[in-house]
Symmetry: C2
Subunit: 249 residues, 2 copies
DNA sequence: CGAGCGGTTGAGGCATGTCAAGAGTTGTGG
DNA sequence: CCACAACTCTTGACATGCCTCAACCGCTCG
């Protein structure tokens, strides 16, 4: 293993149980790169050449179609993303861009594919990872289809509060513009919704969220463990989560 | 292996490559059961005790929240479903009910979990399966967020036509009520949308679909390989597909 | 300083859901 | 075999959720 490899990588569930020699093999084939903010690092439809690992900064995963775009997830350190495309040797279903200055490790997809054939423990970790990712997206899909925008905003605010340790006050981890896209609404509509939610127990001041009546907000949001976790704390279901899962796709 | 085990099961990608003895072990621990139409065979939130395999009939997977319900997928023979919940030993995220008289094979989840630790080929098949399932749900989520209901209906009709062999005329594989829920709209709205789509190259007569102007319909639907497949032909992305993938979740 | 961007607010319109009623079909039990 | 109930599908009228367009504020950063 390269002496400069970030030790947090080895601690990821995905790599934790594999043989040291195998992990070292993966790392020597990989490299770390620093990207400026706002850079598109993955174009949807391109062949999946690398498994990506966010070491610093944050990355937005988004879908595009017919000139439209929507945010699917935000990935924060230390997490992998687009594992599934690498495994299937298939085109990326989502694009990715940096939201800030971001350090990524890039692991050649072919090495990943070769490795879980060699290392049984790694294969088991991949299974667990993919199952968790799948369940995250299912949760997200359920939220989109079963809740209206107001309810999605309310549950998002509540979930973030819990992830912040249950404190009534915290700051939004992402721009409202991005949050709106993630929640499937326009920025204007999010802005209006946040304002009207003051009648339901939450006050917003800029990026600051203050929950003034948790019971009331909860009654509106109706949090559900089969949508809002915890499974292992969802990833894609949770945009910009400090305590989130370690993988996206 | 039990002499009466359906040979189509062994031919599923999930089981195709594993050792014969191991496959036989799984089968002897399993059993087949026949269910009447409309029976709820899985309640969301229950612990995942069995991997399910549809042998005959069809099964609807659906989500529930706050008295609301939405169809997530329809599973048809021969396919597995709710693999991810079994693997994670976690509660089902979706409920399931039979749409018609349905024969299922039930494989104990604990046996599945034990087996991919014993059989490396099976583990690889599980990886491939989960990666494909993940990508299916991502496609579905993209469709929901990026397309409006009219576009979703148009792409569904077009995709079904291709799956039916590219013929301009075919019959809908599921009830319109169910299709509406799957597409994230009300039955009334689907009915109206289908009517107005006659101006865009498709005529509907009961359950019969006749594509009268494929170019026009395509211009509206803007089919996209990163949403509508093919990856290995999507499952969840495709409700009631005769040529669909073999697994859902 | 001025351009650009994120956020907010208002006006107006379209898309979609809700409620209600009726036609057609299916399934069931007498 | 028929009558009835239950259900799907359709259609209309209406309400509303959400989007679009536009203007404006405040902030950041060249």
């Amino acid at each position: 293993m390269r002496p400069d490899t970030d030790p947090r990588i080895r601690r990821l569930h995905l790599f934790r149980d594999m043989a040291q020699a195998h992990f070292a093999d993966l790392m020597t084939a990989s490299y770390v790169q620093l990207f400026p903010p706002g850079l598109e690092i993955i174009r949807q439809g391109d062949p999946a050449d690398f498994l990506h690992i966010v070491l610093e900064g944050s990355v937005e995963l988004f879908g595009q179609w017919a000139e439209r775009e929507c945010t699917m997830a935000v990935v924060q350190p230390v997490s992998t993303f687009i594992l599934a495309a690498c495994i299937r040797d298939a085109p990326y279903l989502m694009g990715a861009r940096t939201l800030e200055r971001t350090r990524l490790m890039l692991v050649p997809a072919s090495d990943v594919r070769a490795m879980f054939r060699r290392d049984g423990e790694f294969a088991l970790a991949v299974i667990d990872e993919l199952a968790a990712c799948y369940r995250s997206v299912v949760r997200s899909a359920k939220s989109m289809k079963l809740r209206n925008s107001r309810e999605r905003v309310a549950s998002y605010l509540l979930r973030q509060s819990l992830l912040a340790g249950g404190t009534p006050s915290y700051t939004l981890p992402v721009e409202k513009r991005l949050l709106a896209s993630y929640l499937g609404m326009t920025p204007e509509n999010l802005s209006r919704t946040l304002k009207t939610l003051e009648a339901d127990g939450v006050k917003i001041d800029g990026a600051r969220v203050i929950i003034t009546d948790r019971a009331k907000l909860t009654a509106l949001a109706k949090p559900d463990r089969l949508i809002d976790g915890p499974d292992a704390v969802a990833t894609s279901a949770g945009i910009g989560l400090p305590l989130s899962r370690e993988g996206s796709g």
